[in-house]
């Protein structure tokens, strides 16, 4: 067998020629929109999920952090049901204020909590709901006339606004509840609690995997954006190239997602993972836990009952 010596580098690579570049120093172009959005999005999600995936690190963690995760999950389900049964915006607004208060009292950073909820809620609901406020869809008393149709005023109706408000508030309350639990419980403990509550192993495993490689993927997105940036000398003619890049990037990502999820799973298997989560701090139910459970049951009853009186 003859040894294959590395091929010689092409002459242009080893000559002292000038690097490829614009003949003249061009104006600085604003960063390509899609590229920037892709990078920013990944960074935002990464921060949002990590900044506070808090294990009680401070000297005295807030009360929410000290409640047993299993209790928190049960309370979460009870309160979510309660919120789903409420039919007036006023009750929901009160519940929402209560949640913000709870966050504050429980040691969760209120600013981050509120912004995170309102970052997602409008995005997912407001756009979808906007048409429902119009008289053509929800007939009623027109508050903001927009146009006339066969002599009748058409526009945003109070009934439409009410039903849209109801949905938005309900989503805000539900998202807030979920956030309170995820912010105040470390991920591993949450998964362990799901297992302890009898959620089938395969579900817990799927959730765990999805979460874990989400981060590896996010890293990939950032790396791809950077890698492209590093190779882009002259950021002209953004739009078409951008779209192509994003298209190709999404394709590559899907391929990587499959490969990475497999490797992450292998790494977990190699260290004995078989679908059951074990954590450093064991579960122990305390007086605080029972109190929290009782309180959440009571609150659920009160909001549903109070809502009935308001109707």
């Amino acid at each position: 067998m003859t040894a294959r010596v590395l091929k010689p580098a092409p002459a242009w690579l080893v000559s002292s020629e000038q690097p490829i570049g614009p003949g003249r120093v061009g104006r600085r172009k604003r960063a390509a929109f899609l590229e920037k959005t892709l990078g920013d999005g990944a960074e935002v999600v990464r921060r949002a999920m990590y900044a506070e995936s808090a294990d009680p690190r401070g000297d005295r963690p807030g009360v929410l952090f000290r409640i047993d995760p299993r209790i928190k999950l049960v309370a979460l389900v009870v309160l979510l049901l309660g919120v789903a049964l409420v039919h007036t915006p006023v009750t929901l607004a009160v519940v929402y204020l209560g949640l913000v208060l709870l966050a504050w009292a429980g040691g969760v950073s209120v600013g981050a909590f509120v912004t995170r909820v309102w970052l997602f809620v409008p995005l997912f609901t407001a756009v979808a709901l906007a048409p429902a406020t119009l008289s053509v869809i929800t007939p009623g008393e027109v508050l903001v006339p927009l146009w006339t149709w066969h002599g009748a005023q058409e526009g945003i109706t109070s009934q439409g606004l009410t039903s849209a408000g109801l949905v938005i508030l309900r989503v805000a309350c539900s998202v807030s509840l979920v956030l309170l639990v995820t912010i105040s419980t470390s991920w591993n403990r949450l998964l362990a609690a799901l297992g302890a509550l009898g959620v089938p192993r395969i579900f817990v495993m799927v959730i765990a995997m999805a979460y874990r490689y989400l981060f590896v993927l996010l890293g990939s997105v950032l790396d791809m954006v950077l890698a492209r940036k590093a190779r882009t000398v002259q950021p002209v003619a953004h739009t078409a190239g951008d779209r192509r890049f994003v298209g190709a990037a999404v394709g590559t990502l899907l391929g990587r997602a499959g490969h990475l999820s497999e490797e992450v799973h292998q790494a977990m298997t190699a260290r004995g993972y078989a679908g059951q989560h074990h954590t450093l701090t064991g579960f122990r139910a305390s007086g605080l836990d029972l109190l929290a459970l009782a309180a959440s049951l009571m609150v659920a009853v009160v909001i549903v009952g109070g809502d009935h009186l308001l109707r």
Binding site: A3, Y50, A267
Partner: protein, 253 residues
């Protein structure tokens, strides 16, 4: 030699990715307890794939592999007791440490394996502290592994395997991404582990440290077959094998 002394016994192992990309072809060898073995070969010759097969993470598409005298197959590892026993005895340090760190904090990351295998929380915490201290990464304890530098991730990945104190450690290019001081430290550590009687299988491209770390080397050719399986010193002395495997070329000093 007693059968219990044989850790791995491979007979005609073959592996093909997606029915199309060959990674290993007709690979046979035995690995005895306490041996220190290097896997050498050009990029893409199948080293990483072999390590994953030895760790029971992927299963050969042809041939047979047994570990500790028992067949190592998907079915045998489906038994939780067998799986736990095997996982506690054999550890692997991946080439890509990005996939190997997946917990929310470095502490949880390192504790993960021990907890999965049923070590008590107190014992796990103590061991975790020891490893953090040994690797001088205590300051990273509460950090998120994903957000660490490449070399720091590698250290965490190493710590997370060492903490389980396996009998057999499979290293996939362990010194890649480490700074020179840490590389030296790791090479010392691997040497110590070898002296302590651990079985070490090491995929590497670093020929300089080979003689110190291993006694035996298996060279893979670009056809994914075993090209040579002999003493490390013999291989380093007779460079023709390394040249044939495209690991070095004639002009290299």
């Amino acid at each position: 030699m007693a059968d219990t002394e044989i850790v791995f016994h491979a007979k005609g192992l073959g592996y093909t990715y997606l029915d199309r990309y060959p990674a290993l072809d007709d690979v046979s060898f035995q690995i005895r307890r306490g041996e220190r073995i290097a896997l050498l070969g050009a990029n893409g010759s199948g080293k990483s794939t072999l390590l994953k097969i030895l760790d029971g993470l992927v299963f050969p598409t042809s041939g047979e592999l047994s570990a500790y005298g028992q067949p190592l197959t998907e079915e045998s590892l489906a038994d939780p007791a067998v799986n736990a026993r095997f996982r506690s005895r054999v550890g692997i340090v991946f080439q890509n440490s990005d996939v190997q760190v997946f917990s929310a904090t470095v502490r949880e990351e390192i504790a993960f394996g021990c907890l999965q295998l049923g070590l008590s929380a107190a014992e796990t915490a103590a061991r975790t502290a020891d490893v953090l201290d040994m690797l001088e990464i205590e300051d990273l304890t509460d950090r998120t592994p994903f957000l660490l530098s490449g070399g720091q991730k590698k250290k965490v990945a190493l710590a997370s395997v060492l903490v389980m104190n396996p009998e057999v450690i499979l290293f996939d290019e362990p010194t890649a991404a480490l700074d020179p001081r840490t590389q030296h430290w790791l090479i010392d550590l691997i040497a110590q582990l070898g002296e302590a009687g651990k079985t070490v299988v090491l995929a590497t491209h670093d020929l300089h440290t080979l003689a110190d770390l291993t006694d035996r080397a298996i060279i893979f050719g670009e056809n994914h077959r075993v090209l040579a399986d002999t003493q490390t010193r013999a291989i380093l002395a007779d460079r023709s094998q390394l040249i044939a495997a495209n690991l070095i070329h004639d002009h290299e000093v």
